[in-house]
């Protein structure tokens, strides 16, 4: 088995089978959903803030789709818990991709960043945090509510 395959199995499948942060939160402070119509990946993300109204205390997601989209979203929940909304709104996709750790082709890249996009939209809707210009381009093929 190649190194790549090994990483895929360990990292992606681990998160895919036991996703962290799975299950939407009750009474969330922020929520949004998005999908990649090209392949049918869908993700809904809910967020709860700590008492300061800024720090992300908990993230819960629901969705269906390819292993990469679901695993990336699972990793995302771990990555952002404890960070502030402003920080996460500006989180570069490279940080998430580094966390995923395996090289992705352009098509699978879209699968990987779907969750991040949905999270940013949720924060934007709840707190008015900016959606960075760079993100607008990536988000063109994806649909957000």
């Amino acid at each position: 088995m190649s190194e790549l395959e090994q990483m895929y199995r360990e990292v992606i499948l681990d998160h895919y089978k036991s996703p962290r942060g799975h299950g939407l939160l009750e009474h969330p402070d922020a929520q949004a959903e998005g999908q990649n119509p090209l392949c049918g990946d869908e993700v809904t993300i809910s967020v709860k803030f700590a008492e300061d109204g800024e720090t992300i205390e908990a993230v819960g997601f629901d969705g269906r789709g390819c292993a990469i989209s679901q695993a990336a979203t699972s990793m995302l929940t771990e990555l952002v818990t404890g960070r502030t909304a402003t920080e996460v709104a500006a989180l570069p996709k490279e940080d998430l991709l580094e966390e995923i750790g395996i090289p992705l082709t352009p098509i699978r890249l879209k699968c990987a960043i779907l969750g991040l996009g949905v999270l940013k939209v949720a924060l934007h809707k709840a707190k008015g945090t900016p959606l960075p210009a760079e993100w607008q381009n990536l988000g063109d093929d994806l649909q957000f509510d």
């Binding site: 190649s2 790549l4 395959e5 895929y8 199995r9 499948l13 089978k17 119509p37 090209l38 392949c39 049918g40 990946d41 789709g65 390819c66 292993a67 990469i68 098509i107 699978r108 699968c111």
Partner: protein, 412 residues
């Protein structure tokens, strides 16, 4: 008389792509429905053309220009012969099947469609034969109707009467072969029905022309399109055939050089067919390569290719049918060409394709440019394997063991 046979192993020697080994094996290329690999014969011929016969066409008075023109027009005649069109004035080179369908939609559709008219397509159509018509219907106020499929992925022809009652059916557009399901559509029947309604019949033969013998006169259609890159030719070259009377009436689609007779400040006159629809410098070497590819495929023989693919798809469907949790879409093996779309329970097509790639198997995962069909099937995407003249039994075996590996990896 026994069925014609082709020797796929022997033919593979023509394709340098199969010389490249990864983990000791060549790629099991199962995506010919998307695009095909190119034999040395086509590549060498194009190279030679560029090295000894290249110049712009239809213009120069010098020797190179004569050679280039002969090569280009020779390719046009090859296209005519391949589909048994009555005249090469009716054969127009385009960039692709998609561009050819757009040409028809714009140059014929805009002038001939209006309120009260009905544009009829099917649930099987590729976006290239769906979206242009949808757009033209909206733009002209015509209705946009579709012929639905049954659970075998075959057209429900008993819906035609109802469709006819909706208005004046003006155009029926259909793919002779479905690129997602491999369904072979009854185009002759549709053409006859279309003509009864006073409509024209447009055939998208992109997926059919490489795999079956095509005869536009026998089909009874009014327009037919197909592509070079799907039959071992270069990309960037496609063909549109249309009935002369229709083409003569149509306004040009692209304007510029080559398609004019004379240009003055106050008026311009169009060139005769086919040049009226070939503005600008064409993809000369690509058209030439298209012709060489037609020679290559014709020499092997469409009947032999069809029989070869049939054997492979029968084998593939049998073996796929034995994998638990795997669902095949479309008609039974003897009512389809060499295409199989399927889904594996609990595993997304992207993940299937990813793991198959690591086994050296190339399949397509996605909606295959047939989103309305995906909606009808109730899925967002499928995994699709497709065969061609260079596909071998081992490719099928590798697909199957690859899928078993996918199941193992995902623990399903």
């Amino acid at each position: 008389m026994t069925a014609p046979k082709l020797d796929a192993q022997k033919l593979r020697a023509d394709f340098a792509v199969f010389d490249e080994l990864t983990n000791g094996r060549p790629v099991a290329y199962l995506d010919s429905a998307s695009s095909t690999q190119k034999p040395r014969q086509v590549l060498d011929a194009m190279r030679e053309f560029y090295e000894h016969s290249y110049a712009n066409v239809h213009r120069g008075v010098y020797t190179l220009a004569e050679r280039a023109t002969a090569g280009y027009e020779g390719a046009r005649e090859k296209v005519r012969a391949y589909i048994n069109a009555p005249s090469n004035r009716e054969v127009i080179f385009t960039r692709s099947s998609t561009e050819a369908l757009n040409l028809i939609a714009y140059a014929w559709g805009l002038e001939n469609l209006g309120p009260g008219d009905v544009v009829v397509i099917t649930e099987l159509e590729h976006h290239a034969n769906f979206v242009p018509w949808q757009f033209m219907a909206k733009k002209t106020g015509a209705q946009f109707a579709h012929i639905p499929i049954d659970d075998y992925g075959e057209l429900q022809l008993d819906t035609l009467d109802e469709i006819a009652r909706r208005g004046n059916v003006k155009v029926v557009a259909n793919n002779l072969v479905s690129n997602t399901l491999g369904t072979i559509n009854p185009v002759e029947k549709l053409a006859a029905w279309a003509h009864e309604q006073g409509a024209i019949m447009v055939v998208d033969a992109a997926q059919a022309a490489p795999h079956k013998h095509i005869d536009v006169q026998a089909l009874g259609c009014d327009f037919l399109v197909f592509s070079s890159h799907k039959l071992c030719g270069p990309s960037g070259a496609g063909a549109l055939w249309g009935r002369r009377e229709l083409l003569e009436e149509m306004q040009p689609f692209n304007f510029g050089g080559e398609m004019i007779r004379s240009v003055a400040l106050d008026r311009t006159s169009w060139n005769e067919l086919p040049y009226k629809f070939e503005a600008g410098t064409p993809a000369i070497a690509e058209a030439y390569g298209f012709g060489i590819a037609l020679d290559y495929v014709s020499e092997i023989g469409l009947a032999a290719i069809e029989a070869h693919e049939h054997e492979l798809v029968v084998n593939a469907m049998e073996q796929l049918g034995e994998i638990p949790g795997l669902r095949i879409f479309g008609p039974p093996a003897d009512r389809r060409t060499g295409i199989v779309s399927f889904e594996l329970e609990s595993v997304h097509p992207h993940d299937v394709a990813q793991i198959l790639n690591w086994e050296g198997v190339a399949v397509r995962a996605g909606h295959h440019c047939t989103q309305p069909l995906m909606t009808r099937l109730g899925v967002a995407a499928t995994t699709r394997a497709s065969f061609y003249l260079y596909s071998i039994e081992e490719d099928v075996d590798r697909l199957i063991s690859g899928l078993l590996k996918v199941k193992d990896t995902f623990g399903v």
